[in-house]
């Protein structure tokens, strides 16, 4: 499995929160190499049973969300411009001058309008809101209405950039990087013997409501779960205590809402197998699917592994491929080495 190649394929397809069909389709196709038992739930989450547990071994769930942040069309102006609303947390400031794709009857290119300097000077605009965002699709209203409906979603354009070292920048690394880590773990596990039961879940709607994970967790009904997401990698402008370092491996989550034993177990396995890792300490809920899965049914022992990522929710998110590989190694080793004593 070529990681960069597969990752870029995952990032290229669109799956704005609530409209994950394309991504779900790609994942189901990929999963068919590992499972005959794949379920697409009514909210768009994909759950696949990989193996049954041997006696007294736990059922493990590895989970990653498949949706990405985006926008949704709210109207078409008389001049053929589009107004939009947020679908997931996009910083309005990031939208100015961006190239986007409007997913209408076919994909349409758009540019987010920017305020020309001569207008900026005359009106002292201190704060920007979604009301200031218009998308230029270069069409009249009549032409636009043939292809685009209110309610269609809008994503950042796909512009992959290979950076120096083993890093790439592309839209939707949050959370296709997490998806990649789980798929890569499955690939590694294919060659291995392990006694734990394994299910994988690829959940919809994490960026908006978390309902995709609530429902996929319900269906999977595991004994323990590890959610795989992305978290903040240090850049010069971010507070040190909230960030991990790119290239230093998966960030193992520690929080009052995550199982402390499971967090410790993950660290021990990383140390034993010489997998680089870091810690991410949070004071409360994690703002990931872990929050939903751990309270599913009677409760699930839950942990969190995050891939360090720069510029979250921007069109130029950056990850280090080595971090994805190390996360996959940690997940695969966890499944192989996990025994009853962790619960």
């Amino acid at each position: 499995m070529d990681i960069k190649d597969t990752l870029l394929k995952l990032c290229k397809v669109n799956g704005v929160s609530g409209r994950e069909d394309e991504v779900a389709k790609l994942i189901r196709t990929t999963l068919s190499s590992y499972s005959d038992d794949i379920f697409l739930n009514p909210l768009g989450s994909v759950v696949a049973k990989i193996s049954e547990a041997s006696d007294n071994y736990p059922e493990i769930l590895l989970e990653a969300h498949i949706d990405q942040v985006g926008l949704v069309v709210t109207s078409i102006t008389d001049d053929g411009f589009l107004t939009v609303a947020n679908c997931g947390g996009i910083d309005v400031g990031l939208l100015i001058s961006q190239e986007v794709i409007v997913c209408g009857k076919k994909d349409i290119r758009g540019i987010v309008c920017s305020i020309p300097p001569h207008l900026k000077r005359s009106k002292k605009k201190e704060s920007l809101t979604m009301d200031d965002i218009y998308i230029d699709i270069g069409m009249s209203k009549v032409e636009a209405e043939k292809i685009i409906n209110v309610g269609d979603v809008v994503t950042y354009d796909y512009k992959p950039v290979c950076l120096v070292e083993n890093r790439i920048s592309v839209k939707s690394l949050d959370n296709r990087a997490g998806v990649m880590a789980v798929l890569l773990a499955l690939e590694k596990l294919k060659q291995c013997d392990y006694k734990c039961g394994l299910t994988v879940a690829f959940s919809s709607m994490e960026e908006t409501s978390g309902k995709g994970a609530a429902t996929s967790g319900y269906f999977a009904n595991p004994d323990l779960a590890i959610c795989v997401d992305v978290s903040f990698a240090q850049t010069v402008d971010c507070p040190k205590n909230k960030c991990g370092d790119m290239g230093k491996g998966p960030m193992i989550g520690i929080s009052p809402t995550l199982d402390f034993n499971l967090s410790s177990k993950l660290q021990n396995i990383a140390k034993k197998e010489k997998i680089p890792y870091q810690l991410e300490i949070m004071g409360g809920a994690t703002s990931t699917d872990a929050d939903k899965i751990c309270v599913s049914r009677n409760g699930v022992v839950t942990g969190l592994c995050s891939i360090p990522l720069k510029y979250m929710h921007s069109p130029v998110e950056v990850v280090d491929i080595d971090d994805i590989e190390n996360t996959a190694n940690l997940l695969a080793n966890f499944v192989m080495l996990c025994k009853d004593d962790v619960i």
Binding site: T77, D79, F81, G89, I90, D91, V92, G93, L94, I96, S97, Q98, E99, I108, R109, I111, C113, S114, I115, P116, P117, H118, L119, K125, E126, S127, L128, T129, D132, Y134, D136, I137, G138, M139, E143, K159, V161, C162, L163, V164, E165, R167, S169, F232, Q234, T235, V236, D237, C238, M246, G247, S287, K310, Y311, M312, H313, S314, P315, V316, V318
Partner: protein, 337 residues
């Protein structure tokens, strides 16, 4: 026109580093032209016609584009920069760039880590940095030097109804027009000046105009069209699809009124769409050209362009055709004025 424009737009030529643009233009010159390159890098091309006019005509366009320049390398390998030419920092957040043939991105502090106050604020250039993927200063220094210039990484694409999006339409469009005119069968001698450093103070225009010493100058440029829902009425300045923009005044020049009227008359006679700017905004090489030596009668014919000085300039193909059309019709009249 579109093919030449695409070829020119995709070249990197930030102010002061116009070499590649100049070399490409030279390679596209018809064989019956002569050219010189001056100390600043201006390319001055003379075309000999069948006759010499009593009016020495200079047509101009600038080769440089706005961009950035690397000023400092942080310990973590990120690159600090200054803008070259007037770029609003808000339009470069979250963009892809190219420095020294290496790809980079200008990211943004995640919304989750921003305070409520910070979230809607305009960003300052000092907060931004370029990420080329280096994990430390030493690694960055293997690929990039202080003083390297940075360009937008932006494809030339057609979209919508007859629209084009690219970086550097300002002013590779003007250069494309000059190249087309040089290939026309024009009766009189004339000079085309492909200028440097317009974006950093109309600098190339000064020595070039001094050397050419024209009587009349026509500047081919792009100009801000704010015809989006963010502006109303006269603040739209000019409109895509409404044709060539001939302005009477901008922040740098009060244009020659005789030439201004002649442009509109010529457009009307030939059914070419023509409009003016409804706001005094912007400025171009005409500002420098018009005050050369004893003064030069100058007009500019511009392409209305949305989102100027960003990676995604947007223009209308119809307007491009209108400008070329107007140029070929007005040139003979200028020789005989």
């Amino acid at each position: 026109m579109k093919n030449i424009l695409k070829q020119l737009c995709l070249i990197d030529g930030v102010s002061g580093r116009e070499n590649l643009v100049r070399e490409t233009i030279i390679s596209l010159l018809p064989s019956d032209c002569e050219y010189t390159i001056d100390a600043l890098g201006n390319l001055i091309v003379t075309k000999t016609g069948k006759k010499s006019s009593k009016n020495r005509i200079m047509l101009s366009a600038h080769m440089d584009e706005v961009g950035m320049i690397v000023t400092f390398i942080e310990q973590d390998g990120s690159l600090r920069f200054s803008t070259v030419g007037g770029i609003d920092p808000d339009v470069i957040v979250g963009s892809c760039v190219r420095v020294n043939n290496i790809s980079g991105v200008i990211g943004s502090k995640p919304i989750h880590l921003k305070s409520a106050q910070d979230r809607s604020k305009s960003v300052s250039i000092y907060e931004l940095f370029i990420d080329i993927g280096a994990s430390c200063k030493e690694q960055a220094e293997e690929h990039v030097n202080l003083g390297d210039v940075v360009t937008f990484d932006s494809e030339f694409l057609q979209f919508g109804e007859g629209k084009v999006k690219s970086k550097a339409i300002d002013d590779r469009f003007g250069c494309a027009v000059l190249l087309k005119l040089l290939r026309e069968d024009i009766e009189y001698d004339f000079t085309c000046a492909f200028l440097v450093q317009e974006e950093v103070g109309l600098r190339g225009a000064r020595p070039a105009t001094y050397a050419v010493n024209p009587d009349i100058a026509v500047v081919f440029e792009t100009t801000t069209a704010a015809d989006t829902p963010l502006s109303a009425g006269k603040d739209k300045v000019c409109v895509l699809g409404s044709g060539a923009v001939v302005s009477f005044m901008d922040n740098a020049t009060i244009y020659d009124s005789e030439l201004y009227k002649l442009a509109f008359l010529t457009a009307k006679e030939n059914n070419v769409l023509c409009q003016t700017k409804t706001a005094i905004a912007g400025g171009n090489d005409a500002g420098a050209i018009s005050q050369s030596r004893n003064g030069v009668k100058t007009i500019s014919i511009s392409l209305p362009c949305r989102y100027l000085h960003s990676a995604c300039c947007v223009a209308d193909e119809q307007d491009m055709d209108a400008i070329l059309n107007l140029a070929t019709k007005i040139l003979p009249k200028l020789f005989e004025l």
